[in-house]
Symmetry: C2
Subunit: 282 residues, 2 copies
Amino acid sequence: MQQIESSKEIQRFALESRKAGKSIALVPTMGYLHDGHLELMRQARGKADLVIVSIFINPIQFGPNEDLDRYPQDLAGDLAKCQAVGVDVVFTPTREALYPESFQTSVEVNKITKCLCGAGRPTHFQGVTTVVSKLFNLTLPDTAFFGEKDFQQLAVIRRMVTDLNFPIEIIGVPIVRENDGLAMSSRNAYLPSLERKEAAGIFAALTQAKNLYKQGLKESETLCQAVQEQLDISIKNSFKIEYIKLYDADKLTEINGPITAPAVLLIAVHLAGTRLIDNLKL
Amino acid sequence: MQQIESSKEIQRFALESRKAGKSIALVPTMGYLHDGHLELMRQARGKADLVIVSIFINPIQFGPNEDLDRYPQDLAGDLAKCQAVGVDVVFTPTREALYPESFQTSVEVNKITKCLCGAGRPTHFQGVTTVVSKLFNLTLPDTAFFGEKDFQQLAVIRRMVTDLNFPIEIIGVPIVRENDGLAMSSRNAYLPSLERKEAAGIFAALTQAKNLYKQGLKESETLCQAVQEQLDISIKNSFKIEYIKLYDADKLTEINGPITAPAVLLIAVHLAGTRLIDNLKL
């Protein structure tokens, strides 16, 4: 396994690999890798001749009062995990290399970025689509893998790839969960032990709502209300719900009233100062 | 020579050509080709195994009161010219194919797009960088050729390519002029014969200012003033100057006072309802 820091070098590697007829799969990450990331890598490993994992805490997708400065890092551990999964190249650029002082370009998806996470984090998705565009151009993948935990992010990236005609297949990978159901996330490390236990209530509440849906409860508002009530019961510590919404899973538009299209139940919760997101397809 | 309309087909052609080890040069145009375009194609022909010319009147780079609906077209003539220069593929997508109803992504260079043409055409460069990103991803060129008449556009595209790490070399090609000095432009066709003759005064005024500069006149404001005065003498019909500016040719920042850096004198003039631009490096 190679570690490459230089943008020029990774692009040269990608160009030469493609010229040699090798297929490339990219797994973009911000590091502090967990089993969710490793599942992306395993799927990538099964799909392409070469697997490139990028590890880069992308400053422009963080808002001014977010956790950029304390985002968890463990490069040595990450490299060991990548090696164990059979990754070929880990790309670890510096901030200065990706965003020199002269940098002034942005890539923006304009509509489906305004709701859900985009409502509370207005510059977030522009930061994501800009860095992902850069990573695509630097690593020239045939396929790129993203987790479904960031459901909106996945939809935004699919939209960008279609709109800008990137010759890349985007593959969404189902959420990997802890034993108690909590969706794996690097940010789970922020949670004190009591809140960590209670955080399992998020997936439990989504699951309960899905059961209600299966039993015939089809009103969007009632299902979202049921999630909220369940959380009020299961989480004793103070928490803040950013949103609980039912969305059309394909169009990423809100469903009001009865559910007809394939739907996804999405949630963002702040618990002990940590923002957690999760979702469940109904 | 092939003509390809389908985005999928041109991308497949590009992917297969690159896999076969062929280099690709792209010349993006809006059609109604003149000798300036043909010079881009000739240079592209000398540089790559395959030359792709795109012909697409890009609606999103036109403002609401601009000439989108009357922009000149001559596809049959254009194809004949491309063939004569030895172009391999002419890509002629439809508007619906490049901008379906669901389209919602934009690529924007944020600083150097606000001045000069960007001041009078606030959405123009975003339209250019968005369509050029699409064309880059559809045709996967090693090199792309742009005319220096659109000096700011060339700087904006270079900036975008650097910032987003496109693996593409951008080649600027010097302005091709009519016998009387007028910079070739598809929009010259709009000019009535009298105004067409007077339009030669634009280049004459730039040239005179360059001579003054060579003779020792180094103040930006004085040189711009000299251009304006010369135009007032040489053009009898009513015309409107949008800007006459001296800019740092590399950084694309305005030069006030004495000229030190490599400079370019830029002008935009409205003559008989037609917007003409030109520039000259000092």
